[in-house]
């Protein structure tokens, strides 16, 4: 009886499927994998807001050749959940295009699951180098690779800060502190390699666990080293703990450069108040000098910032702008050229993209590697024109300060006042 019922159900299902042919006005369905719960949710939700704004803007403009964009969400709060949620969207909902995913460990997991099913993955902000270095065919990373973050910080020191501090670059004591998971390690490795190539010696170079509850040993050791400039890669909670401990132990530097993540989190001001002013952040630019953008991009940018601020009551952080920029490029540069929306077709279109700097809202252009990168023959799908720079926390919000062509203001508060004067 039961098998008979099951057969009946299958038959009904088949006949239903047969009567609904795919129509031109069917929505384009995209799987959005972001951490919506758990420790990464804060940034995941911000990215989700940016993606929703992009979807609304494109749908209000009539969609893509009349087809609306529709999102199916997966809660990728850990790498394991990212894999199972991606699998679920692919096998249960028949998704052929995925995007996301804010954090590197999540991006690594999502792209792996997508690639296994030959699904097209458009990564917006994941940064670890490994994402595009596994020889994958369908993974495209629009954001900058991890090494670029660190390079921006070092270039800023070499080309700008050294002059402002009145010291030659080789007379500066530079310290590097990194959290030892995928992102921090990847950025730290990049900075080390880049400083070596420029013959700059690091006075301090150490990793730490981001769940650390006591920063005393780290801050004390830094204090004993006495660097002029500290480059730190942290997540929000440890960034706050570090800043508080630095104040407690009266550890001062002439310039403090945080790299993305913790130091770019809008929470930082809520937690440490005005001590945040003057801190530099090497990151995706939250907002760039308008003259750097193409005229039509400028209009899109204005609309995005207006909608985001209306919704969230504050300007977007760098990765929210980057998330919007990347997904907007998918809708306006890739999709309009597609007919079948099959991963192979999308891949061909993506690889042919050649957009100059300033094409995307955050100042990026697009040109993907295609197994032709001299560093690593397996690298494919990494955007070589992702914008990256340095911005600074100011009394009123943030200003892009480096590179000069993207900058909205010159750097201020150099050298950084001692804690006793802040």
């Amino acid at each position: 009886m039961r098998s008979f019922l099951r057969l009946g159900a299958i038959l009904v299902g088949l006949s239903l499927a047969a009567t609904i042919p795919a129509k031109a006005e069917d929505p384009i369905r995209i799987g959005v994998l972001l951490p919506m719960t758990g420790p990464l949710a804060k940034n995941g939700i911000e990215n989700w807001e940016a993606m929703q704004i992009a979807r609304d803007m494109i749908n209000e403009r009539g969609g893509i050749n009349g087809r609306k964009i529709e999102y199916l969400q997966g809660d990728a709060n850990t790498p394991n959940a990212a894999i199972s949620e991606t699998e679920r969207l692919i096998s249960k909902d028949g998704i052929k295009i995925t995007t996301g995913s804010f954090a590197s460990p999540i991006a690594i997991a999502v792209s792996q699951a997508a690639e296994r099913h030959n699904v097209f993955h458009w990564e917006t902000t994941g940064a670890a180098e490994i994402i595009t270095r596994r020889g994958f065919k369908y993974t495209f990373q629009v954001g900058a690779p991890a090494r670029k973050y660190g390079q921006a910080a070092v270039d800023f020191i070499v080309n700008d800060l050294a002059k402002r501090l009145g010291k030659p670059v080789d007379g500066l004591k530079i310290a590097l502190l990194w959290e030892n998971r995928a992102f921090g390690k990847s950025v730290g490795d990049g900075i080390r390699a880049y400083t070596q190539s420029k013959n700059i010696k690091l006075a301090y170079d150490e990793g730490y666990d981001q769940t650390a509850t006591d920063m005393t040993p780290i801050v004390q050791k830094l204090k004993d080293t006495g660097p002029d400039i500290l480059i730190a890669i942290s997540f929000p909670n440890d960034a706050i703990l570090f800043q508080r401990k630095a104040k407690e132990l009266d550890f001062n530097v002439a310039a403090f450069i945080g790299v993305s993540a913790g130091y770019s989190s809008p929470d930082l001001r809520d937690s440490i108040g005005d001590s945040v002013n003057g801190i530099f952040v090497a990151d995706f630019p939250p907002k760039v000098n308008e003259t750097a953008l193409k005229p039509e991009t400028k209009k899109v940018a204005e609309e995005f910032y207006k909608r985001y601020e209306a919704k969230m009551k504050r300007p977007p952080a760098g990765h929210a702008s980057a998330g919007f920029s990347a997904i907007w490029a998918l809708y306006t540069e890739v999709f309009p050229k597609a007919k079948t929306f099959e991963p192979d077709e999308l891949r061909d279109i993506a690889l042919k993209l050649d957009l100059p700097d300033g094409s995307l809202v955050n100042g990026s252009g697009i040109k993907f590697t295609n197994f032709d990168w001299p560093d690593d023959a397996k690298d494919a799908g990494q955007n070589l024109r992702a914008s990256i720079g340095v911005w600074q926390w100011t009394k009123t919000g943030n200003e892009e300060v480096y590179p000069p062509e993207l900058a909205t203001k010159p750097p201020a508060m150099v050298p950084l006042p001692d804690w006793s004067k802040r």
């Binding site: 420790p39 990793g207 730490y208 650390a212 509850t213 006591d214 050791k221 909670n237 132990l249 809520d270």
Partner: protein, 294 residues
């Protein structure tokens, strides 16, 4: 020299705060012989409570303890009735899974209600106190004093009051205690609630030091477990000693070896203590086995 002094002082102070947060866990373990896996989430909830009071009513987080401690006592009593006590007469794993489920439930409830935002209170003392070349954070010093007072107070309660005597009797032999007219289920309830209230106090001490977010408990619960086992399960002064050990080891190894190995070293210490003193530093003999063979 000033470096090592700074590291030890900071280690002792932060260790005492870890100890305060572990006392509730060790108390509950010592009497009920169960491990509350939701301990970290109790801390998280209490921290949110203290944050809400100081954020919306503008009260000092230490003053918030007046409300948070009784509230956590009540919360502990309710959690005990709903989640723990139904599993007490069943195999040990039932309580393990029940408290784990409670932990996951509380984390996600907090995420829904409070979002993943980090919440903080402004510092209580504007500057740290400097003694020679050593800097001491006022909040940590206060935490140390509160921990000492609590340890002494709880010891006194257990040694000198009728309730303490009843608790000790329950620990020694639950059945005999019941025959002597001690309401063992009530003792369990009170102990669980007192343990939770202690977490409430710890939360008020920790709020000026740490941000609160839904998964904050995960950062501390492992430390608490290590402290409880290190000090001797069920031993309150052992928790203080264990906490200080963990704080100092973390601080010194973080400086002299590498910060990334800070946890490795206190687990190493943990393993050594387990090998040479399986009942912990101050634990009673056979503590781990007590109540297991009933």
């Amino acid at each position: 020299m000033s470096t090592i002094l700074q590291l030890v002082v900071s280690g002792v102070l932060i260790g005492s705060v870890y100890a305060l947060m572990s006392i509730g866990l060790t108390l509950i373990f010592g009497v009920l012989r169960i491990v509350n896996f939701a301990h970290g989430e109790f801390l998280m909830i209490a921290m949110y409570g203290a944050w809400a009071i100081s954020h919306w009513l503008g009260l000092n987080p230490y003053a918030a303890a007046i409300a948070v401690v009784p509230a956590m006592f009540l919360f502990g009593a309710i959690a005990y009735r709903l989640v723990v006590s139904p599993g007490l007469d069943k195999p040990h794993l039932v309580v393990v899974f029940a408290t784990m489920a409670l932990s996951i439930f509380l984390q996600n409830a907090a995420l829904m209600l409070m979002t993943a935002d980090l919440r903080d209170v402004p510092p209580i003392f504007a500057r740290s106190i400097s003694v020679g070349s050593v800097y001491i954070k006022g909040e940590l010093l206060l935490g140390f004093a509160i921990t000492l007072a609590c340890t002494i107070g709880l010891q006194w309660m257990i040694k000198r009051t009728y309730l303490g005597k009843a608790i000790r009797a329950t620990v020694q032999d639950g059945e005999a205690a019941m025959l002597m007219g001690i309401a063992v289920p009530k003792i369990f309830l009170i102990t669980f609630a007192v343990g939770s209230a202690m977490v409430g106090l710890a939360a008020c001490v920790m709020l000026p030091l740490f941000s609160v977010f839904p998964t904050v408990g995960l950062n501390f619960v492992l430390i608490a477990f290590v402290i409880v086992v290190l000090g001797g399960m069920g031993s309150i002064e052992g928790a203080l000693l264990g906490g200080i050990c963990v704080g100092v080891v973390q601080s010194l190894s973080g400086y002299y070896v590498a910060p990334a190995f800070g946890q490795l070293f206190f687990f190493l210490l943990f393993l050594l203590v387990m090998i040479f003193r399986p009942n912990g530093l101050l634990g009673q003999k056979g503590a781990a086995m007590l109540g297991m063979n009933e």
